[in-house]
Symmetry: C2
Subunit: 206 residues, 2 copies
C-alpha cells in the first residue's frame, strides 16, 4: 500500500507541477506578446500566474531559462500541429501538405515568437531568440525530416531524389512566403502545393 500511495502522490505532485509550469508559461507568453522579451518582468509573470516570484525562480531557475522553456513549448506545439494535420489527411499527401503549409502560414501570422523562430530573424522585438540554442535552431530540419518521412510513406513510387527536391521546396517556399507574402495563406498554400506536386511527379530527362 505504501508504494502505491507514494506513486499516487508523486503523480499528483507531478501534475500539479506541470500545471504550474503551464500557468507560468502562459503568463509569460501573454506578457511577452505585449511588451516584448526585454520588457518582461519576472514579478509580472509571477503575479499573472498567481504564484510568488520565488516559485517561478525555483521552477525555472532564471529568466533566460524561462525563455528557453517558452520557445521550446511553442516549437513543440507547432511540430505537433504539423503532425496532426499530416495524420488527418493520411494517404492524401497533397492535401496534407496544403493544409500544413496553410497552418504554418497562419501560425506565423499571429504568433510573433514562432514567426521569429521560423524565419531565423534575430534582433527586432524577438530578442529572446538568442535562446534558440536548444530545440528551435533545428526546427526547420526537424520539420523537413518529418515531411520527408510522410512523403516516403505516401509516395513510395516517387524516387528519393525527387522527394528530396519536393520537400526542400515546401519548406523554403513556405518560409519565403512568411517573409514576403503576396496572397492570403489559403491561396499561397495551394500555389506551393501545386509547384511541389510538379517537382515530385516529373522525373527530368537529362
Amino acid at each position: 500500500m505504501a508504494p502505491h500511495r507514494i506513486v499516487a502522490m508523486t503523480r499528483y505532485t507531478d501534475s500539479v507541477r506541470s500545471s504550474l509550469r503551464e500557468r507560468v508559461l502562459d503568463a509569460a507568453y501573454g506578457l511577452v506578446a505585449d511588451a516584448g522579451w526585454a520588457g518582461l518582468r519576472m514579478a509580472h509573470v509571477a503575479e499573472r500566474a498567481g504564484v510568488s516570484r520565488q516559485t517561478v525562480y525555483t521552477e525555472f531557475g532564471s529568466k533566460d531559462a524561462l525563455g528557453q522553456s517558452l520557445v521550446m513549448r511553442e516549437v513543440d506545439r507547432f511540430l505537433d500541429g504539423i503532425r496532426e494535420v499530416l495524420d488527418r489527411y493520411g494517404e492524401d499527401l497533397r492535401g496534407g501538405v496544403t493544409a500544413g503549409i496553410e497552418f504554418t502560414l497562419r501560425t506565423a501570422a499571429d504568433n510573433d515568437l514562432l514567426k521569429a523562430v521560423l524565419t531565423s530573424q534575430r534582433g527586432g522585438d524577438g530578442e529572446l531568440i538568442a535562446h534558440l540554442t536548444t530545440r528551435s535552431e533545428p526546427l526547420l530540419d526537424t520539420a523537413t525530416a518529418m515531411l520527408g518521412a510522410y512523403a516516403a510513406q505516401a509516395w513510395p513510387e516517387v524516387d528519393e531524389y525527387s522527394r528530396e527536391l519536393a520537400v526542400e521546396c515546401v519548406v523554403r517556399l513556405t518560409v519565403s512566403n512568411i517573409v514576403q507574402p503576396v496572397a492570403p495563406p489559403e491561396q499561397t498554400a495551394q500555389r506551393i502545393a501545386r509547384i511541389v506536386t510538379r517537382v515530385a511527379l516529373l522525373k527530368d530527362e537529362d
Copy 2:
C-alpha cells in the same frame, strides 16, 4: 564653331563629373564595407576620393543622398550583370537561369550591401537600407519581370501560368539559399534550375 566648342566642353565637364561621382562612390563603398554605414564619415569619403569634403556635398547634397546613390549604383550593376548573363546564354534559358542564380549567390556572398537589399534584411549593419526607397525596394520585382520576359521569349511553348510559377520559384528559392545556404553556389544553382525546369515543363492534370 562656338556651339561645337560648347558641346565639347559640356561633354568634357560631364565626363569629369561622372568620373568624380564614381570615385566618390568607390570610396564610400569601401569605407562602408569596413565600418558600416553608421561608421562612415563624409570627411573620410572625401579624403579617400581625393577631393574636398565640400565637393562631395555639392555633388550629392547629403550623406543620405550619397547612400541612395550608392545602393542605386549597386542595384543597377547587379541588374546589368543578370541581363548580361541571360543574354550570353541566348536560347538556352536553363543555362542562363543556372548561371544567373550562381551569379546572384556569389554576388550576395561577397557584397554585403546587395545581400542586404536582396534579403530585405533591415537593421544589423546594413543600416543604410533605410534608403532603399528609390530603386531597390522593387529590385526583386524588376528581376522577376526581367526573368519573366526572357522566359516568355525562350519558352513560348510553355503556358503563361507555368512560366509564372517557375519564375517565382527561381526568385524565392534563390533568396532562400542566400539566407540559408547548404551547398556551394554552383551546386545550389544547378539544383534550383532542375527544380524550376520541372515546374515549367509539367502541366498538372487537376
